[in-house]
């Protein structure tokens, strides 16, 4: 889980258009969520270890590449979100991107980011 704040706002749109598009998510001082990140890896079971991916390795990768970067931060200040709005769609893409690079090739099956208990976003691996 990562706890972070964000504000949905784009300079491409006027203040009125931002308000109309994003509603209360456009409030000037931002707001926060406890995002729940679900990472699914898949592949053959290694005959020596009996594992698809070592869970300790998976924990370490998620910790160092995702949680240390985004947990207890304001997403709008992350370099990734200088030029794009930190919607959960774009956060999911960002998390998927860093995990696909960091995990053993071909093992990442999906990343799911739950913004609240009522909505979540998911990207499938190839």
């Amino acid at each position: 889980m990562l706890s972070a704040s964000h504000r949905l706002h784009t300079d491409v749109l006027s203040n009125e258009e931002n308000r109309a598009t994003y509603g209360k998510c456009n409030n000037p001082h931002g707001h926060g969520h406890n995002y729940v990140i679900e990472v699914l890896v898949g592949g053959p079971v290694d005959p020596e270890t009996g594992m698809v991916v070592n869970m300790a390795t998976l924990d370490e990768v998620v910790q160092t590449t995702v949680l240390e970067r985004f947990d207890h931060t304001n997403l709008n200040f992350d370099p990734l979100f200088v030029n794009q709005v930190p919607t959960t769609e774009n956060l999911t893409r960002a998390v998927f991107g860093v995990l696909r690079t960091a995990l053993p090739a071909g093992t990442l099956e999906y990343v799911r980011v739950e913004e609240t208990e009522n909505n979540f976003f998911q990207i499938q691996g190839e």
């Binding site: 598009t21 994003y22 794009q84 769609e89 893409r93 979540f120 998911q122 990207i123 499938q124």
Partner: protein, 141 residues
Amino acid sequence: MIELTRRATFSASHYYWNDAWSQEKNEQVFGRCARRNGHGHNYTLEVTVAGDPDPVTGFVVDLKWLKDVIENEVLAAYDHRHFNLEVPEFADNKLIPTTENIAIAAWKRLEPAVTRAGGAQLTRVRVYETPEIFAEYRGEL
């Protein structure tokens, strides 16, 4: 392509009954679910749409819009209703309101509104009858 899922809950009552069968056969096949006074559940509906985030807004679709679609197309008809008596696609023994059929019926209610709006397509409807049981429909395969 990214998938976005929104959850909603509704509470409804139903019973299982096939009018072409005898009472004995209905009770044999459907058990307690065949009791004609019905029973109820707290259902959880999960609606998944897929598309690419809009480059300006970062949204696949506006979650508030999706909430309204679910509310208007499904919850308005199903929430605090009796499927067998009040919901048009099930009433008069047209369709047995199993979780499977509710998932398909919810899809049919949602799909035109999602398609009409453009920008995203409906890819999955999942209906939980209890926390332990769900049925999922992904459209015609």
